[in-house]
Symmetry: C2
Subunit: 469 residues, 2 copies
């Protein structure tokens, strides 16, 4: 019986081809409860490696020890699809010499498959594994659900190390990643705290403006003609997004509409809709809460998908292209409908594309929902601080004061107007916000680039600059 | 909703990048009941294409129309892991100008992944599919079970066309091959006759010599010390192999042994052993009969695996490497334990490696079971007509007159002798056959190569020559 098991992380690293200057990768399904990235990077630092690039599908606040590894020269490059403000603030202040490379959830596997990105050693957290490397994320004590973002790493990395805290006898019956792709396996005490995989924002908003916008969003979806049998839908885990799902659920139940699928990051709200028969399937690249983790383990209608199948433009097709409607957020949007989800209004990195630009591009109707101003800072600006999603892919902006439709989508504007919805020009909404808040101060920044936003097609979409002192 | 559906095979081919001189591929899970290869090749011929190479995991008697396509110049190259005598005889007589390239089931995906083989357009028969190309082989009216051999084609071909006779609504709930890999989908009336997927030899032998050998084989497996809890096992669908499985089943039941897994082509016999708790799992790259097809659809312990995971030497590990014992056949074996399963004693092509060389190389104990002579032609020869599996990977030869153990495996010879089993030198067994049958006539053949046997590692293992007139 062949075994790939190593007794600890350091032994596995020593047996790997890892050298100074290489790229290691991680996936973020354990979110803010992840122990694996920190354990591995501590081992790498102890072993004296230098000048590594860390490519993770996302970085969370729990990954702050990376800042030390950067200070020590262990890590000199970061690549991700999302970066929490915990790291983002230091990066925005110029901690890292090389710019962070930001991708989208679909662009990351696309860059791997098209050879524009390379991973030397992938570290894959799995909640269940056997000694040959067959593994999954939905069984075991630290179950986190879909392991979709790690699948491209397993497929394309030169060397793959699975790290798990549950050891099963060979063959693990259901492997989301199989032994043919895995070089080494390490069993540790714990890969993370599955209670912390919950997104910070998985409760329906109680904010009256959020509820007002959600109500308007469901009216807009209905007016678009897309809310019919076979409807497909994606929304995030933000409070307003969940409110849209809640109201949509009520509407679909009342009207007897049976949707096709909901996709993306999956929440208990969508699981409830599946169970109520409002969607036939969930296509899950990431579980946002415990209810989603339990559902993917038990319900065969709840399907695990790879990041490539989810949203890669290099895939022959992806789920995002099959979407009728996606609900997305924004920190800023400009007159060309370009959206920023990377930086806040002060220019500080606090997010990233995730699946934003992918689903905006793929879906039939992408709808940005955001309040017209936050803390007296207007949502709509002349030019966003960072283009995360290009305006050509953004169809509708929805605020508490009304909607604006991208001029490219007259086919959507007409039914929304015909339904009597409050449709404005985006410039009108901008003027309204400025009448209330005044014009925002321009952000002071240096000329040095601290982040490069790569489009899902592999082009440079925009740059993020170092903050002024 | 994105659809990749074409109304008929010709339209899909016309929309594909297919050009003269390219390579098309097929998989053989529908075995002698397959309609898809013939339908596609007829369409290709009608469209006027010339000089194509057909790379199929196997060719069966039902694929005889290929002979016409060869005569017409539509097809000028063949690549496969197995070729039925129906085609093999014509190939052996020199019909095809270029030699057929023979691979093993593990070598085929290995050559695709290492870039030593290339598929321009893959045609994948699926018994259920949706219009985006999500598909499987185990549901639908023409269910054939595992679609494992087609997975590498889907992964590595430039263009992938799925052909199915059952259309499901998007998303097909359980896809063995997903939309991210599929370019086009065609729905036809019927992809094949699933009743004919049954291998010609899926019944336990009633031949007393076969039963005697099976009995000896189980004694040898027991004597080896491998028949203990966690035992893993593979056998084919031949009558003697099934007899071994039957007797092994009785022995395991009697002794309360719980095996780990059985792998490879799966038969109802192995399904019965799974259900009896004698194996925890079946790892299935190909279903040999209806019972296996029904089991893979219903029983989550019965796991579909890709050809790569099954046996590819390019995989980080494969199932074959985890095998304790594999039972294999032979048309000839020589004094160096080299085995021929490509040609018969007259030098006519009638088979191929399939998983023979893969499992012989990967398993802890590979055992060839064959009668010492057939129709007065001895099994053991000075030099096999074709090396299908090199002697270094063959551990034990078992005939009705006793066993011979490869000198490289003294660790196996000792326990077999200690158990009182009739262990001889292979030369002794050869002499015994020759005393009965006399020396065989040397085969008359031309110098022209009609087949090249590539080893699973990508080397030329042997050549097959044109028959003398």
């Amino acid at each position: 019986m062949l075994s790939k098991e190593y007794s600890d992380i350091k032994s596995a690293i020593k047996a790997s081809p890892l050298e100074d200057g290489m790229t290691v990768s991680f996936h973020h399904h354990l979110r803010n409860g992840d122990y694996v990235l920190n354990m591995v990077m501590a081992a790498i630092a102890d072993l004296g490696f230098k000048d590594l690039t860390v490519n993770a599908s996302a970085f969370f606040a729990c990954h702050k020890p990376l800042l030390d590894h950067i200070s020590q020269g262990v890590v000199t490059g970061l690549e991700c699809n999302y970066m929490d403000a915990g790291l983002g603030e230091e990066i925005s202040r110029g901690l890292l010499k090389k710019p962070v490379i930001f991708r989208s959830h679909g662009g990351r596997p696309a860059d791997l498959y098209r050879g524009a990105a390379h991973i030397d050693v992938a570290f894959i957290a799995a909640s269940n594994a056997d000694p040959a490397g067959n593994c999954n994320g939905w069984s075991g004590k630290s179950a986190f659900g879909s392991i979709g973002y790690a699948m491209a790493d397993a497929d394309m990395a030169d060397y793959v190390i699975v790290i798990s805290d549950q050891k099963s006898i060979y063959p693990l019956q259901q492997s989301s990643i199989d032994e043919s792709l895995v070089d080494a396996v390490v069993f540790v005490d714990s890969i993370g705290d599955p209670e912390k995989i919950v997104s910070g924002t998985t409760r329906v908003t109680r904010d009256p403006i959020g509820l007002l916008m959600a109500d308007l969003a469901v009216d807009a979806i209905a007016a678009s003609g897309l809310l019919r049998d076979g409807f497909s839908f994606q929304t995030g885990a933000g409070g307003a997004s969940l409110a849209v799902a809640q109201l949509l659920s009520d509407r679909m139940l009342a009207e007897g509409i049976q949707g096709s699928f909901a996709s993306g990051g999956i929440t208990g709200m969508l699981v409830d809709m599946l169970r109520a028969g409002l969607f036939r399937n969930l296509l899950d690249v990431q579980c946002f809460d415990r209810a989603a983790v339990e559902s993917i383990a038990q319900d065969e209608r709840h399907i695990e998908i790879s990041a490539s199948r989810y949203a890669s433009p290099e895939a022959k097709s992806n789920v995002a292209q099959q979407l009728d409607v996606v609900i997305l957020g924004a920190t800023e949007i400009d007159l060309d409908f370009n959206v920023n989800v990377h930086t806040d209004s002060n220019g500080v990195i606090m997010g990233g594309s995730g699946g934003h630009s992918d689903t905006a591009a793929g879906s039939f109707m992408s709808m940005i929902i955001a309040p017209l101003y936050r803390a007296r800072l207007p949502l709509i600006v002349d030019r966003v601080g960072c283009i995360s999603t290009p305006g050509r892919d953004v169809d509708v902006l929805l605020t508490q004061y009304g909607l604006a439709v991208n001029p490219r989508r007259d086919d959507l504007r007409q039914p929304l107007q015909a339904a009597g919805l409050p449709v404005f020009e985006i410039a009108e909404l901008k003027a309204r916000a400025e009448a209330i808040c005044g014009l925002p101060q321009p952000i002071k920044r240096k000329d040095r680039t601290v982040g490069i936003v790569r489009s899902r097609d592999g082009e440079i979409l925009d740059r993020i600059y170092q903050l002024a002192d």
